[in-house]
Symmetry: C2
Subunit: 331 residues, 2 copies
Amino acid sequence: MKQLLGAEIRLAARPVGEPAPADFELVTAEVPEPGPGEVLVRNTWMSVDPYMRGRMDDVPGALPPFALGSVLEGGAIGEVVGSNDPDLKIGDTVTHFAGWREYSVVGDATRIDTTIAPPQAYLGVLGATGLTAYAALTDVLKVKPGDVVFVSAAAGAVGSVAGQLARRFGAAKVIGSAGGPLKTKKLIEDFGFDAAIDYKAGDLAARLAAEAPDGIDAYVDNVGGDHLEAALDRLKVGGRAALVGSISGYNQRVPGPSNLMQVTYKSLTLQGLQVTSYLHLFGEYIGLAAPVLADGTLHAEETVVAGLAQAPEALIGVLRGANTGKMLVKM
Amino acid sequence: MKQLLGAEIRLAARPVGEPAPADFELVTAEVPEPGPGEVLVRNTWMSVDPYMRGRMDDVPGALPPFALGSVLEGGAIGEVVGSNDPDLKIGDTVTHFAGWREYSVVGDATRIDTTIAPPQAYLGVLGATGLTAYAALTDVLKVKPGDVVFVSAAAGAVGSVAGQLARRFGAAKVIGSAGGPLKTKKLIEDFGFDAAIDYKAGDLAARLAAEAPDGIDAYVDNVGGDHLEAALDRLKVGGRAALVGSISGYNQRVPGPSNLMQVTYKSLTLQGLQVTSYLHLFGEYIGLAAPVLADGTLHAEETVVAGLAQAPEALIGVLRGANTGKMLVKM
């Protein structure tokens, strides 16, 4: 029997600063047979997330660094084309974490219900990014009615969901920041934010102070750097920030906020989160999000590039803010 | 009847950078009569704490900024010399928060038990700084047996107590940092730390990595800046930092740590604390600390300057690290 061949993307070099195409290598390799309990999946969609940049450095974290010369990893959706798992049959659509390749052999694929949402939604609004927003607002920030909430990178996959969830949880005002007039217009018109700040247009801190003269209760930080600094100055006594991402600092170390003593003065809590710690909330979150996604109340956007070979450019792009909503590769 | 006169220290100017003597003004003023329920206290000891520098700036915080031209405020101990409070009689020794003056008229003085410890202990190891250490280790850090704990400014009033409490709570290793060989020697010999790092001697981050090759579970931050950066790199996944003080940043804004994305990668929690939020733990803490202070198991040091007129120099000194243990003014 002829061995199956599949394309995959390997880490060719550890990036210095912004990743370059040469840091990735597209290789065609033999696909192993699925072992006991495993399935063979032909991938159809792949998730592209800013945090992946962190795994390209040789620095320990909640997820280990990608190994040089090895295939990268990330969320993906595909169709089962071979199965040794009695619970999954050929033709099932599944989600798993062995993306960056045409075919994946996995032991922990999960079947998804494509009758309530298109498959790629399970990588974004109904997937890890949506769950991240939900965990940030519930477990970390405990957003409650009347809160003033600030969300950075608010047109991104996590931010756009976080803003809408804050509204659903009764926030008095939801303020988002994004880069450029098109994105900020979208924050108001499509994602339902009460106020939008174009951080590229000028003084983020002054704009935030003007939008929240009495301070903010909770901050969803996807940016770090100047955004976190502005938020620390505006957070009320006892306020909380969920440190979800640091898009300003993935490619290079940037100085942290110079006002961290505000954390002490105002008894603030800054808490980092990894979605892998919140998988137990997935059912609860899908129960909330799927119906409102289906009826159009929850608005999700996608930025799609075509073909596995484009995945490196998609990652470079998402780190530059090229996306609105979820960045995806359609295989 | 002749009006009572008393010396007091007022804020003459808001400091730029390090406070200068000219930012303070020593004035003799009339002392008001105590009103109903109030007592007149002749102060004998005054607390000098780095956080006071923050209140000299016109920036809102858990405690409001000192007003220009007004008497400063802070913890003090004194003797009741006039009383309209049926629960306090002349001759009682009390603690209150209206320091920086020779005589205070206060409505919320608390009698202290000078049979179990000398009065000034209630400003330090049995007072706000001791309680700060206790709240940091229990409520914020939840230190448990086996933890590796790092404490910065470990020879200071909060740090020296925090290190000893961490040991009592079963920490596997307690590492402290301080400036200079005399202080680091004291950490080991007098305060019982397992390891001491002289941050002035060289590479703090490398020394911390060498002392904690498998990482640290909890960090008591009294410094900010480079110390917080080194700790963020060493904290284990799920680790916690109590942001108690920022001695590196009170006099001027310093850049924050450039590795705050570690908070996200490792699901860390950074929590600021103000001791005023933990007054409900005072009884519990005194119950733990007073006996071990009395039997010598808990070691406390004091750096004492004499006379109210020296209080500004004492504050300038504590911000420079001139003290070991608690900085006090003996009136």
